[in-house]
């Protein structure tokens, strides 16, 4: 695996799995808010909105990536990796309906949203491309625990570029679920209502976070010994 793959693949999977959660939330949104225009345009506008939402994630990722880069120069302790791992575990708990730090974060995000809400009102209802694009960019700021977890990961990615890549991959990962919901909304939603599925995805996130934490805290001893071993051959 190349280094870039290491960055984008997990983020993409994270978006893919996690977006099941947001499906109900964002899925019907564009349909609802573009109800003024013809149905044929709704699908296009919805796609535009989704793509610009991904763009806003990428911008956020660039910011957090840069911040993370700066922060990592202050200390050798992998604080960002640990934070990202903790948030992944929290994401798992959140999906399983348990108490989670993310609920607290969302609450803070909700406060932030109060400042964004009046701005986005100017672009509603969605009737054309530019309105859809603007709304998409703003909706990247909707209070969402999943996005916060992804941002934590992007902060730990090492650079602004890596942060952008991470969030872009994450956003693209959420795209299938969210865009498809417009078409099969209900069926998919029914499926995601099944507690076992939520639990399974939740467990995957928890295992993922735990593993990442483990590898961060137990620094490459294992790898070292492997290389050592290899050397002898």
């Amino acid at each position: 695996m190349t280094e870039l793959t290491v960055i984008w693949l997990p983020a993409f999977i994270m978006g893919l799995l996690g977006s099941a959660h947001c499906m109900g939330m964002c899925g019907g949104l564009t349909v609802a808010l573009s109800s003024g225009c013809e149905p044929s345009r709704q699908a296009t506008l919805s796609l535009v909105y989704q793509l610009f939402r991904v763009c806003s994630y990428a911008i956020l990722g660039g910011i957090t990536g840069a911040l993370g880069d700066v922060m990592s120069r202050w200390t050798d302790f992998p604080v960002l990796m640990i934070a990202a791992s903790v948030l992944l575990i929290m994401m798992g708990l959140y999906l399983m309906g348990r108490w989670s730090l993310l609920t607290v974060l969302e609450k803070q995000g909700g406060k932030l949203w109060k400042y964004v809400a009046p701005v986005q009102k100017k672009f509603l209802p969605i009737r054309n491309f530019s309105q859809a694009a603007s709304i998409g960019l703003l909706w990247g700021l909707l209070p969402c625990g999943l996005v916060y977890s992804a941002l934590a990961v992007s902060a730990a990615s090492g650079s602004a570029i890596n942060g952008v890549v991470t969030m872009l991959a994450f956003g693209l990962g959420t795209l299938p679920a969210l865009y498809i919901t417009g078409v099969f909304a209900k069926q998919l939603l029914q499926w995601f209502k099944k507690p076992w599925l939520r639990t399974t995805i939740g467990i995957i996130f928890i295992v993922w976070g735990s593993y990442q934490m483990y590898t961060t805290l137990v620094p490459a001893n294992d790898m070292g010994s492997h290389q050592h071993h290899h050397h002898h051959h």
């Binding site: 109900g24 939330m25 964002c26 609802a32 808010l33 909700g110 809400a117 209502k193 639990t199």
Partner: protein
């Protein structure tokens, strides 16, 4: 999960709301709850833009409703009387009986749980679960409980019980079978792949394979075994979780535990690069366990096809004659009423019982009694539902509705026997339930021991114990054998009422036979003939046959075979209670009893015999005939066989004549009595029972009914009176004594197969558990052993099906 969610769902996304999030928002004049800040923000936005119609549109568009609501509506449909009518098997005042099908019924624990839980519902009068056919027989009072309520309860417990419909069940089973094959296929492929790597890794460990390569192989094994675990192993988890949810243990609990532990431990080893990975064992577990389950499933499928074969053959419609319009109209069988005139076309099946209105009809009644010779009926005789019209179309008048027909009763009896649960099976059920608990305890002890000793193999030894000890074979041992045996009975046209019959006949020492209709055919034939003129015997018999040719009287039938077309009467006149007279070639003939015929001279000559019949020619007696009941052709051989097998045979007959003695001597009965009244018969049986004998009664007459109830087991012959049939434990649909012998030998064989099965499964479990606990059995051998043990039981039982 229940504790962590509120009952309400998010107004916006309809997902459950986590506890601790209580923000609400006014939407369309009502306070709505949401699941997260995101949904709240979005809903707020929608409200702010006056787009609340979105929510209205969303619900009104009639998109697929919530699965639970969906289910409720679907189940409610079964409350409607006309829908129910389609499924109800029998109906009395305030008590309906119905068959339900649920493919999740797998083991005796399921049956026990369903029976216990559902019978607690008020209004449920009885419930029986057949594990082999996965069918529930339910009786309930429609006034105190709705059917949908009962069904919902079953669904809640994880059993998707719906009214049994043959076509649907067959279709469903086809789908399930496909799914089984997919699971099995995936597990098989996965296993081969993982095994290949495992072998390479074991070999690599010796030849110094590079660690990168090892890591790659491990990761592929991990990737391959994951879908196998999730998809192929799903039936085990779902069954285990359903049991746990109901606070029960079933045999899938240890299996599930073993799989999850093995997989997680391997995953840990894989990610931490520590210890061995056992993905190969996981896939093998699943593969071999699935093979066992699949074979079990196939047997079930075959059983249920056989069990309800009757329903496929059920006649759906009848052609009713409408006198008003002088036309025929096809109506569904359920609508036929007593008194309706029905047309039965050639090749069609008779839908309800009735009497023949047309002059004659030729019917195939093999469905009813296995008799393949067509029976010819004449006007006024009874036509039974289920028989097939071989010849010309005929008219009949219904004497019963659909539900009351003989055919319907036969089907019900057949089903009831299969749904019955004998005491011995109940015992095995209980053992199997405690067994699982015992296994879990033993496994924990084994784990504790090996961990305390510090063995690296603790985990794998524990897994072996969990898998090897599954009591599948034990819980299958009795029910599968019983069901297979009953199917063989049905195949031979023998109906048994309950499975206890199989056990009670096994203990029989003495067999008591009735004479008329049991050992004999109950049909008269010419016994002796004396001719007092120059004519030959054949001519005399032909003359009598000519006189009796058109009569349906039992006496007339005795002469039917002597009828010759050369000897015909010019005219015939029937004299009620006396006989028949006729004329031929100027001479007058009379055939009948002595009252009319016997001249004084004759009576002096032959003595007055009330049983004898006389033929006179121009008022002169020319022949004297006595008739007797015909012995069944197989009677002699069957009785010989039975007595050779060690049964003591008794002959009790109400017939006062000396024929009883002749018969007893001819066949070789050690014990016989004639002129026995019903109460004397009862005494006789009780005396035998006082001597610790187990008595089987074989009979047919009304007078046999009380002794059938008193005997340890009873068999009613095909032509038995209704009351006799209902008090007998077993009913021969085919009129053949050989079936008595069959029933006895088959019961013996069934008991021995059950004993073999129990011995095998208990022996297997008791010998394998210690070995596994000591660490001598690797996990994959445990999986093979467990599957094999159930396959052995199933295959052994199948011998009973022939």
């Amino acid at each position: 999960m229940k504790q962590s969610y509120k009952s309400e769902t998010c107004f916006h996304c309809e997902l459950p709301i986590p506890k601790g999030f209580d923000k609400t928002l006014q939407v369309s004049g009502e306070e709505r709850a949401f699941c997260c800040e995101g949904c709240l923000a979005v809903a707020d936005m929608i409200v702010q833009n006056s787009l609340e119609d979105y929510y209205k549109f969303r619900t009104e568009s009639g998109e697929k409703p919530d699965a639970i609501v969906d289910l409720e509506n679907e189940l409610k449909a079964f409350d409607q009387a006309d829908v129910q009518q389609e499924f109800i098997v029998s109906q009395t005042d305030n008590n309906n009986n119905i068959l339900l099908y649920a493919d999740q019924i797998r083991c005796s624990a399921c049956a026990w749980l369903l029976e216990r839980t559902l019978s607690r519902l008020q209004g449920v009068s009885s419930i029986q679960v057949n594990v082999s056919a996965q069918v529930i027989s339910l009786s309930w009072n429609p006034e105190s409980i709705k059917l949908s309520r009962i069904l919902k309860q079953a669904h809640k417990m994880g059993y998707s019980a719906t009214p049994y419909k043959q076509e649907e069940v067959l279709l469903k089973q086809k789908q399930i079978q496909k799914q089984w094959l997919k699971r099995l296929g995936l597990a098989g492929l996965g296993m081969m792949q993982v095994m290949m790597f495992a072998v390479a890794l074991y070999l690599g460990a010796f030849s110094g394979m590079s660690s990168d390569f090892q890591w790659l192989m491990r990761s592929v094994s991990f990737l391959v075994s994951t879908p196998v675990l999730l998809y192929s192993g799903y039936p085990f988890y779902s069954s285990a979780f359903a049991a746990l949810k109901n606070r029960q243990l079933n045999m899938d609990v240890p299996i599930t535990l073993a799989l999850i532990v093995a997989y997680s431990a391997s995953m840990w080893a894989f990610f931490t690069h520590s210890g061995e990975v056992y993905f190969d064992s996981v896939t093998m577990f699943i593969f071999f366990l699935l093979i066992g389950r699949y074979i079990e499933f196939r047997v079930r499928q075959r059983v249920s096809e056989r069990v309800y074969k009757g329903n496929v053959n059920k006649i759906n419609y009848a052609e009713k004659y409408e006198p008003d319009t002088d036309s025929y109209r096809a109506i569904t069988t359920t609508l036929v009423q007593e008194g309706d005139l029905l047309l039965v076309r050639a090749g069609k099946q008779v839908a309800v019982d009735g009497t023949l209105v047309s002059d004659t009809a030729e019917l195939d009644v093999s469905m009813l009694n296995g008799e393949f010779m067509p029976s010819t009926l004449s006007k006024g005789q009874q036509v039974l539902a289920g028989s097939i019209n071989h010849h010309q179309p005929f008219m009949m008048q219904a004497t019963a509705s659909d539900k009351g027909s003989y055919w319907d009763k036969l089907l019900q009896l057949q089903e009831a026997a299969l749904l019955d649960k004998p005491k011995i099976a109940l015992l095995a059920d209980q053992i199997a339930r405690y067994f699982v608990l015992a296994i879990l305890c033993i496994a924990s002890l084994v784990a504790a021991y090996w961990i305390s000793v510090g063995s690296d193999d603790a985990l794998w030894i524990t897994l072996s114990v969990l898998v090897v000890s599954c009591p599948c074979a034990l819980s299958l041992a009795t029910p599968v054998a019983m069901t297979c045996s009953i199917l063989s009975f049905n195949k031979n046209n023998i109906l048994i009422k309950g499975q206890d019959f199989l056990q009670s006949t096994n203990e029989v020492t003495d067999i008591v036979f009735d004479k008329t209709g049991t050992l004999t055919l109950g049909k008269l034939s010419v016994d002796t003939i004396e001719v007092y003129s120059e004519q030959s015997k054949d001519t005399v018999l032909a003359l009598i046959a000519a006189l009796e040719h058109r009569s349906e009287h039992p006496i007339a039938k005795a002469f039917a075979k002597y009828h010759s077309p050369d000897v015909e009467m010019d005219s015939v006149n029937f004299l009620p209670f006396k006989g028949v007279e006729g004329s031929r070639a100027g001479k007058s003939y009379y055939f009948g009893n002595s009252q009319n015929a016997a001249s004084q001279q004759l009576l002096e000559q032959c003595g007055d015999d009330a049983d004898a019949l006389y033929l006179t020619e121009d008022s002169k007696v020319i022949a004297r005939v006595t008739l007797s009941d015909t012995l069944r052709e197989e009677a002699d051989e069957v009785c010989q066989n039975l007595s050779n097998k060690g049964y003591t045979l008794h002959l009790l007959s109400g017939d006062p004549s000396s024929q009883v003695q002749n018969l007893a001597e001819k066949i070789g009965f050690e014990h016989w009595q004639n002129d026995v009244k019903p109460e004397d018969k009862l005494d006789y049986i009780q005396k035998l029972q006082d001597q610790q004998k187990k008595v089987l009664v074989v009979g047919d007459g009304v007078n046999d009914a009380p002794i059938m109830a008193a005997a340890n087991a009873s068999v009613a012959m095909a032509a038995a009176a209704d009351i006799t049939r209902t008090s007998a434990d077993c009913y021969l649909m085919a009129d053949n004594l050989r079936n008595v012998e069959f029933a006895l030998t088959r019961s013996k064989k069934t008991q021995s197969v059950i004993k073999q099965n129990l011995a095998w499964s208990l022996g297997y479990n008791f010998s394998m558990i210690p070995l596994a606990a000591m660490g001598y059995i690797p996990p994959y051998i445990a999986a093979i052993g467990m599957s094999l043990s159930s396959v052995v039981v199933v295959v052994n039982s199948l011998r009973l099906k022939e």
